[in-house]
Structure formats: structure tokens, C-alpha cells
């Protein structure tokens, strides 16, 4: 068994797919793993996968050409998942993908397809919940700042959503778990930055002068509930506790 250790990124996983496939050792004799996840195993050979743009390009273009654009989107979505085994799940899915073509998307009874869809579902569900639950606060400079702590790497999806929603505002969303942020200048294009890029991350420390609207929002949320119908279980089902520390109405 050869284990290909990929870098934790979409490009990294695709390079792993390329190396594992081109090694010609047979699909049963290779496995993909994200570096730093899981324990080392005996009787395995570990091969680190260097990220090379031309390999990524080759894999992407063959997915899009030989399978379909929709499959490519699915694979990208799955790569944003938090699941440690995502690289191997994507690899197994692509084996079936190249075998059956686009039709693979309807073969839900294949374990590889089911697994990939499971990852996608979690990513899409969480990104939808964060479209709902992300909260901005306005700094004195006029920047809207939001902090989130998602399990999956949903930042790119949120960026697309909010870039459409607030095109003429300056805003940033900071992912605490990955220490990455997306920045959006008013009427401009959004981009991702890492936490060590201090220049961009200054916005996080800017003071917000928010008390007026935060107080009104909290009051609104309390008043809108009908006391005769109170149902905390229902509330928790819809709004899990892990999102609440980031939400205005549940702070303080």
C-alpha cells in the first residue's frame, strides 16, 4: 500500500489524485491522505505529494472534459469539507467518475458516490446556515466585520453570497478556525488573505460602535417570540448552540 500525503488544499488533493493514478500501482494499492491527519500505519509506504500547477491543471481539465462541469463542482465542494478522509473519498469518486462519466451523479447506491455526496451535503448545509447566521458589525471606519467558526471551509461560498448581496459595502469575514479572511472592497472583487498578513487583518481590531443597533436587534428577537408557544428544543434544532457565540442576539 502506498499512501500519498497531500497538502491540505484543493490543488494539493488534485495533485495527489494525479500521482496516485499515474503511479499505475492499481487503485487498491494506493490511498490518499491529507498531511497531518490520521496515524502512520505499518507496511505502508508514504509518498509526499508536491503541489505542481501543471498536474492540477491536467486533472481539472480531464474532469471537465471527460466527465462534466457538474462533477468538477461537486469535487470542489467536497474538497472544502472538514472530513480527514476527504482526499481518498474524492479519489474513489473520480475512479467511478472516469468509468461511468456524468451519469455517476445519479448512482447514489455506489459507496464512493454516496460518501462524496455526504461531504457535499455537510459543506452546503453549513454554508447555508452561515449565510443565515453570520453577523456583521460596523466599525467607525465603515467596515463591516464578521467572525465565524465553521467546521468546513465555507469561506469561498460565503464570499460569493455576500459579494452579490452587499456589492457596494466594504466588508470582511474572518474564519477563526482556519485563521483566514475574505475581504471585499466596495464595488470591487473579493479576495482571500491569511492571518499572518497583518496589513489586511487590522480591520479585526478596529473598534465597533454598535450598541444602538445591537440593542435594538436583541430586543427585537426577544419581543418577537410568543411566550405561550415557547419551545427551546425547536429553537436548538434550527439554530445549533455552536453558532451562537458568534451571533449578536445571543451575546451578553
Amino acid at each position: 500500500m502506498t499512501v500519498y500525503v497531500c497538502e491540505d488544499s484543493f490543488d494539493g488533493i488534485l495533485c495527489g489524485v494525479y500521482d496516485a493514478w499515474m503511479s499505475r500501482k492499481g487503485h487498491d494499492h494506493v490511498r490518499l491522505e491529507i498531511g497531518g491527519t490520521g496515524d502512520m500505519e505499518l507496511f505502508c509506504e508514504y509518498a509526499p505529494v508536491p503541489v505542481l500547477p501543471e498536474k492540477t491543471e491536467k486533472v481539472i481539465s480531464s474532469i471537465r472534459r471527460k466527465i462534466s462541469e457538474r462533477v468538477y463542482k461537486k469535487v470542489y465542494t467536497a474538497s472544502l469539507s472538514q472530513e480527514p478522509g476527504r482526499a481518498d473519498i474524492i479519489y474513489r469518486f473520480l475512479i467511478d467518475g472516469f468509468r461511468y462519466g456524468e451519469g455517476v451523479l445519479s448512482m447514489l447506491h455506489l459507496p464512493s458516490v454516496f460518501e462524496l455526496f455526504r461531504l457535499c451535503r455537510f459543506v452546503l448545509n453549513e454554508s447555508h446556515l452561515l449565510k443565515e447566521f453570520a453577523r456583521f458589525s460596523r466599525t467607525e471606519e465603515g467596515l463591516l466585520v464578521s467572525r465565524i467558526g465553521p467546521k468546513n471551509d465555507v469561506l469561498p461560498m460565503l464570499a460569493l453570497h455576500f459579494a452579490d448581496r452587499l456589492p457596494s459595502e466594504n466588508w470582511m469575514i474572518y474564519d477563526e478556525n482556519r485563521e483566514r479572511a475574505v475581504l471585499h472592497p466596495a464595488d470591487g472583487e473579493w479576495f482571500l488573505v491569511r492571518a499572518n498578513d497583518r496589513e489586511w487583518m487590522m480591520g479585526l481590531d478596529w473598534k465597533t460602535d454598535e450598541e444602538e443597533y445591537q440593542a435594538m436587534w436583541k430586543m427585537f428577537c426577544q419581543t418577537i417570540a410568543i411566550p405561550e408557544r415557547k419551545n427551546y428544543v425547536c429553537q436548538r434544532n434550527h439554530l445549533p448552540l455552536r453558532y451562537r457565540p458568534y451571533m449578536t442576539e445571543f451575546q451578553g
Binding site: L108, H109, E132, F133, R165, P167, C221, T223, N231
Partner: protein, 528 residues
């Protein structure tokens, strides 16, 4: 009436939120509209909830009244003119500012503006129009707006508002004209149905202009072309069933005939066979779509104004008047069929006023009944059920212990079990434990392979319920008897607990050493 003018925005928001909270509809769905530079906001067809309040209802829109002053004296309403509550009113500027500020912080998906009647219906509608105009035109707000049409307002005003809003609604409040007469002296059914009809026509006209087909004639909505239908469509209540005192539907013999399933002709399978047999099943079901079609533009470009693109909705109060579930459901069905409603909402009556005409509900609001009505509502829109299949005059109320679909399936065991690998979409939808999503997955997956029970489980089928009604490759999951009593007892255990939870939440008692009710009951004197 004294209107408090010198309140701060915070105080007004508190009063007018409190007054608006009994309105149930808070959906932001039905329209998708991309954002554009220089404007704020977009809209997603699925709708986005932004928070959930302590009662578990979603907070999607800034749901407020424009004013809680009202000239009417509806007995069930907290804002009736005979109640002594602090009255206040927003100004258009205040509503706009609040909406914009909340929206950019991602607190809300848009605005839901309702109102009491200040001075007159026309005056109130005009204030609402001013607010919306300011919000859309001056502040360039591109998010979701749901607004109430005030019954009795000038149709020209309602039309103007319709071009600024995404969804409009007029509350039917009570399912029968009689109930309305008793509890809402200022309102009549005609007055409520008139703006509903106007909005429906406006939407139909808009759809025609955009070249979107309305649902087929005679299979759902009655009207196709507005011009032609103008004469046919009465603006009074004849689109809705009128009930005699005993809850029968006297004027419509053919309907009553089709309601009782037993009298149907021989082929009782659903779908094509039934239509041939002369039994109208309504519009054909499409995968994951409401059978009443999309009544509204739904996808808009944002470059022009559209008339109520997200369609219209309405609301009925459950439990304030003695109507039974069958009547409620028949009215809802008629609203979907004849008024092109996108949604009908049900609101369990919460006792806010004391009045001799109102029921006393010692057990709190009828939440389980409301829950069953919503379940049935979904069955009608997405699962192809008719109101008359779920309930009948002989069984006018829902089974408290079984959900409507299980109940129906148990009464029609002769049509089960069905073979998962072969049965049609409409047939599978009627199996308890299967939903629109899981059936969609089954239909896709079985094209390329044979499904087993393990596959079904992965696809989200609730086998606990479904196992009695399906076979995979000709085999049941467990060797069970297809016997009504046996299956009922198997299904009941689980359902009963859920039903109990809905009606009796927070009734658990913490164990305590010092205060034991059983000791008192046993006649033991406790030292006080």
C-alpha cells in the same frame, strides 16, 4: 385614540414588534434576484432564515406593524380598538433606516410590513406605499419585502405597492364567513377576497407578459388569460366553499362525491388511470414541485419592476372558531386552486383577549392541531393528496396520534406494499416515511441499479415507518403481517411520544426531595 408621538425608535420598535408577533408568515422565499452595484441586497428563492426565537419560529424578516392603532374591533386581536394599549406609529423614514441598518449587518432578509388601520384603509395603504417607495427608490434596497394589502384600500394603491413588494398577503383570518361575522365585525369575506383576487389577477397578467405558462386549465387554477377570465372570475367569495351549519359542502355535489374515496370507480391506483376514470386528480405532480404550480415570476432580473414576483400568501387562525379540520383544509385547498396562493399559513389561536365570543383554551394554543394542518398542507402541495382523501365529513378531524399520511396509508392498506424499484413517483410519495427528497433520490438512483433496504436508509428513507409499506425486489424488510391493527400499534408508539411532546412541552417535573405530590396524595401530612 391617543397616539404617542414622542417615543424613541427603540420604544416604538418594541411596541410594534410585540403587536406584530402573532402574524405567522415570516418566509423570505419565492423569488431569486441577483444583487447589483450601488444597490443593497439580493433574494434567494429558497429563502433565508436569520435567527430563531425562543418559540422556535424563524426570524427572517423585520416583522413590524407600521402602526398598532386600528379602527376595527376584531375580537381575537391584541390591537383591537377597544383594548387599552399604548398606541404608536412609525414614520416611513424610521422604517427605512431600521431596515437598511439591520440588513447590512445580516440580521434580516428584508422587511415584513403589516399595519393596523390608521384613520382609513386608504390612508394606511398610502403610508405603506410611501415607505416602500423610499426604501426601493431612494435607499436602493434590493432585498425582500413582504407587505400586507389592506382590505378596503383603493385598488390603484394596492397595485402600486405590488410593484415594489416581493410578496403580498391578505389574511383570511377565519375559514368561514360566519366565523368572520362573529369575531371581526368590521370585516366581511368579500372585502378580504377582493384584494386577494386583484393580486392574483395582477400576478397572472405579469406572468403572461413574461411568457410564463400558468398551470393548465381545469387542472388547478381556474383562470388562464386575464382578459378572458375577467368576466368569469367573480370578485366575491364564490371561489371558496361555503359551509352549511353541519360542515357539509351543500352546493357542490360532484365534489362531495369525489371526497369519499370508497365511492370511487374501480382503478384506485393514482395517476393516469384515475384521470381516465373521470376522477380529477388536479395538476400532475412534478419532481419536488408544488402541484399547484408556481404562481409568481420567481426569477427576476432586478432591472425592472415586477408585480408581486414571489406570489401571495394568506393566514387562518386555528381554534378561535368551531370549524373542524376538514373545513379548514377544504378552504386551504380552494385557496390554492382558485386564488393561486403560494402558501396558506395556519396560526394556533393564542388567547390574548377575554371575550364571551372567544374560546377558553386551558391547555394553551392548539399546537398539535396546527402541526397536523401544516402536515396536511404539505401533503396537498407536494405529495398530490386532495383534502377529501385525508379527511371527510365522517372523519372531520385529524387523528391526534398518527400523522395524516400514516393515517391515510393505514386506511388504504390494500394499495400497499409497493415495489420501490418499480413504483411511480406519485405512488412512492404516498408511502409513509418517504419524503420529496428521498423519493427524488430513489427515482434517480434506480435508473442505474437495483435498490436494497440498506440503500434506502442511506437515501434518507425512514424505514421505521416505511418498512410496512414497501418491498425491495419483492421482499419486505421484516416478515410482518400487512394488518391494520398490527401496523397501527407498531407506528403508534413513536408517534404518540412526538404528539405528546408537541402538546405538552415543559411539563416535565424536576425530582425534588422536599416537595412530593404523591405523599400529599397519599394522605400523609407533611410538616410545613
Amino acid at each position: 385614540m391617543l397616539i404617542q408621538e414622542n417615543l424613541s425608535v427603540q420604544e416604538k420598535l418594541k411596541i410594534l414588534t410585540d403587536a406584530a408577533k402573532y402574524d405567522v408568515a415570516c418566509t423570505s422565499s419565492g423569488v431569486s434576484r441577483g444583487g447589483k452595484n450601488g444597490y443593497m441586497g439580493n433574494a434567494e428563492a429558497s429563502g433565508i432564515c436569520h435567527s430563531f426565537s425562543a418559540d422556535g419560529r424563524c426570524i427572517s424578516l423585520l416583522k413590524i406593524l407600521y402602526t398598532n392603532q386600528c379602527i376595527y374591533d376584531c375580537k381575537y386581536c391584541i390591537n383591537r380598538c377597544s383594548n387599552d394599549v399604548v398606541r404608536t406609529s412609525f414614520t416611513p423614514d424610521e422604517v427605512c433606516k431600521l431596515t437598511m441598518e439591520f440588513y447590512q449587518r445580516n440580521y434580516i432578509e428584508g422587511l415584513f410590513l403589516s399595519s393596523g388601520i390608521l384613520y382609513s384603509a386608504d390612508y394606511t395603504m398610502d403610508q405603506i406605499f410611501q415607505t416602500l417607495w423610499k426604501l426601493r427608490r431612494e435607499l436602493r434596497f434590493n432585498g425582500y419585502i413582504h407587505v400586507k394589502a389592506i382590505p378596503g384600500a383603493d385598488p390603484a394603491l394596492i397595485e402600486q405597492v405590488g410593484y415594489l413588494a416581493d410578496r403580498m398577503s391578505v389574511n383570511l383570518e377565519l375559514p368561514t364567513a360566519e366565523g368572520l361575522r362573529n369575531l371581526a365585525p368590521g370585516k366581511t369575506r368579500d372585502k378580504i377576497l377582493k384584494p386577494m383576487r386583484q393580486i392574483q389577477r395582477g400576478i397572472a397578467k405579469q406572468m403572461e407578459q413574461e411568457g410564463i405558462l400558468l398551470p393548465e386549465q381545469g387542472k388547478g387554477h381556474r383562470m388562464i388569460s386575464t382578459g378572458e377570465a375577467e368576466g368569469k372570475l367573480p370578485s366575491d367569495g364564490s371561489g371558496l366553499p361555503s359551509f352549511g351549519g353541519d360542515g357539509t359542502v351543500p352546493n357542490d355535489r360532484s365534489r362531495v362525491q369525489s371526497l369519499s374515496g370508497e365511492r370511487r370507480p374501480a382503478p384506485v391506483r393514482w395517476g393516469v388511470a384515475e384521470e381516465k376514470a373521470g376522477y380529477s386528480t388536479g395538476p400532475k405532480l412534478r419532481l419536488g414541485r408544488s402541484r399547484y404550480g408556481t404562481y409568481g415570476i420567481s426569477r427576476v432580473s432586478g432591472k425592472r419592476d415586477y408585480f408581486v414576483p414571489a406570489g401571495q400568501s394568506t393566514q387562518m387562525i386555528v381554534g378561535a372558531t368551531p370549524e373542524n379540520d376538514f373545513q379548514m383544509l377544504t378552504v386551504a385547498e380552494a385557496l390554492y386552486r382558485n386564488f393561486g396562493m403560494k402558501r396558506v399559513f395556519y396560526s394556533a389561536y393564542v388567547s390574548v383577549n377575554e371575550d364571551s365570543a372567544l374560546p377558553i383554551l386551558p391547555g394553551g394554543p392548539p399546537l398539535l392541531r396546527e402541526h397536523r394542518l401544516y402536515q396536511a398542507d404539505w401533503l396537498m402541495r407536494y405529495y398530490g393528496f386532495d383534502a377529501g382523501e385525508l379527511l371527510s365529513e365522517r372523519q372531520p378531524n385529524f387523528n391526534l396520534f398518527l400523522d395524516p399520511k400514516c393515517d391515510w396509508a393505514l386506511r388504504h392498506l390494500g394499495q400497499f406494499p409497493v415495489e420501490v424499484n418499480r413504483a411511480g413517483y406519485e405512488t412512492l410519495l404516498r408511502v409513509p416515511g418517504m419524503g420529496v427528497k428521498s423519493v427524488g433520490r430513489i427515482v434517480t438512483a434506480r435508473k442505474t441499479g437495483v435498490l436494497t433496504f440498506a440503500d434506502l436508509k442511506k437515501m434518507g428513507v425512514v424505514l421505521k415507518r416505511a418498512q410496512y409499506f414497501i418491498t425491495c425486489s419483492g421482499k419486505l424488510m421484516n416478515p410482518v403481517r400487512i394488518d391494520q391493527d398490527y401496523i397501527t400499534s407498531q407506528l403508534l408508539g413513536d408517534e404518540r411520544r412526538k404528539a405528546w411532546d408537541i402538546q405538552h412541552k415543559d411539563s416535565y417535573r424536576q425530582l425534588s426531595l422536599f416537595d412530593d405530590m404523591h405523599l400529599e396524595g397519599a394522605g400523609i401530612d407533611l410538616p410545613s
